[in-house]
Subunit: 204 residues, 3 copies
């Protein structure tokens, strides 16, 4: 793998790491995990076989990414973010539960974090949720259902709390329209209370 | 220790690990910790001197298990599960608090996770709680009091939210009786709203 | 550095560690981080360049301490405590967000944990908060605003729940006055519901 930085105290067993990606101390990337180009994988992270990470992704320290999790391009995964992939977990070594764990189809639910979204520190995602494009999950939030694009959610369980721009700034929507005061992108409410679409892309 | 797998990047100082147990990268099991047979201790876990882990236990990555914690057979400890053992912690190096830390009896509270229970990702257990047999703590829950057998609790603070079978599936109780639709075990409400007992064990 | 214990499996790149401090397995202290005298830095901790830790601080396992965080003397940082320093994080590799990350002044907010305070297991601190002297943040709490001195806060978001003494014990305040039943310190309400001041220091 060309142009991949692997800290001497990291373990990287995957052969599928994109150029420009850096992996820091005590991180462990298993064989069969895929990590794209130009990513940063913080110290103490764990990326399991079967997990898929896109390009330009920042994964802060201590996050754990399992099989069944797909992280698209440009996502921010804060420190100690927790994914899950089993809605009713039991020890696979418990005799009463072993039957369920013979076949992944019986228990493994996928999670998708779409392009440009942010998961802040310590966020917990229940199995099977999808985080929409450019959405933001607040620190310590427990996400129990899908999060729409550009939505900000917070709390336990996580509830809608506002909207955020592609650049990350809060958006103020008045009469269904809003301009980002930081980067100038314009937004329009598509379905009241559910979705925002970019109206016109201003020059950057 | 026979038939114990220890990843080359793990530190295992305990001599009390049961056969068939596997301990993964960057985990640290201190001398004086006890881990039973046929367990899986995920990467980045820490098991302190004095902690007791039974047989057939699954401990996912990054969980921290302190002195005072007892984990019985067949338990599932999800990733980054947090135990605690001190209700009013201060730095032991703070002069005003040093007196309390001279004797463990002044501060150390025990936690017990009973046979077959599950603690999902990022669950936090306050000191001194007992998690009943086959109970389930949802992801991100903060457990501040004892959890009855077979109960499902979620939220911060964790509240009762339903019942689960030995196999992990949700149970629907009607008129005090319920059959598990997955494994067929039968349940009966013992004391309204507090406990379920297995009525008849169906063939598996 | 004299009298500093560094576990053979830790990485300590900082030259600014005080005497008597111990740093445990799989911890990583970056160059440019400052840690005072007589501290304990637990296993799997990460202390970033620019972070400042005082004397007599206990940092339990797995805590992550970033640039912008100042921890004063005698503080207790429980296991997996999460600090943050960016209110609207995005991947720095996302083209739409890169502008903001060119200059730390655009995004980095400071956090201060004052003398003698305690942050229990899994507490999450939003960026920019100050935790007052001898305050206590309960396990699993998500702190979204400043915490007054001696206050106990809990929940998500964290709310005031009582008062604690310098020694850590709960205080009962009656008619604006309270004595600590454990260590004998006396307290007086300064501004109703907001602050307690030590009235007289009893002999210890």
């Amino acid at each position: 793998m060309k142009d991949v930085f692997i800290h001497p105290a990291a373990i990287v067993e995957s052969k599928d790491i994109g150029g420009g990606t850096r992996i820091w101390a005590y991180a462990h990337v298993m064989a069969g995990a895929r990590v794209g180009r130009n990513c940063n994988v913080g110290g103490h992270c764990f990326i399991e076989s079967g997990a898929v990470v896109g390009n330009n992704v920042t994964i802060k320290n201590g996050s754990l990414i399992w099989e069944g999790v797909t992280i698209e391009d440009g996502v921010f995964v804060g420190p100690n973010v927790l994914f899950t992939n089993d809605l009713y977990p039991r020890s696979q070594r418990l005799p009463q539960a072993q039957g369920r764990y013979r076949d992944k189809k019986s228990w493994l639910l996928p999670t998708v974090v779409k392009c440009g979204a942010s998961l802040s520190a310590g966020a917990v995602l229940l199995p099977g949720v999808t985080i929409g494009e450019y959405a933001a999950v607040a620190a310590g939030a427990v996400v129990t259902r899908d999060v729409p694009s550009h939505a900000l959610v917070k709390g336990s369980p996580a509830r809608a709390s506002g909207w955020v721009c592609e650049c990350g700034a809060r958006l103020v929507i008045i009469n269904g329209l809003g301009d980002c005061t930081r980067c100038g992108l314009r937004f329009q409410e598509a379905n009241a209370g559910t979705l925002l679409t970019r109206e016109i892309r201003s020059a950057q």
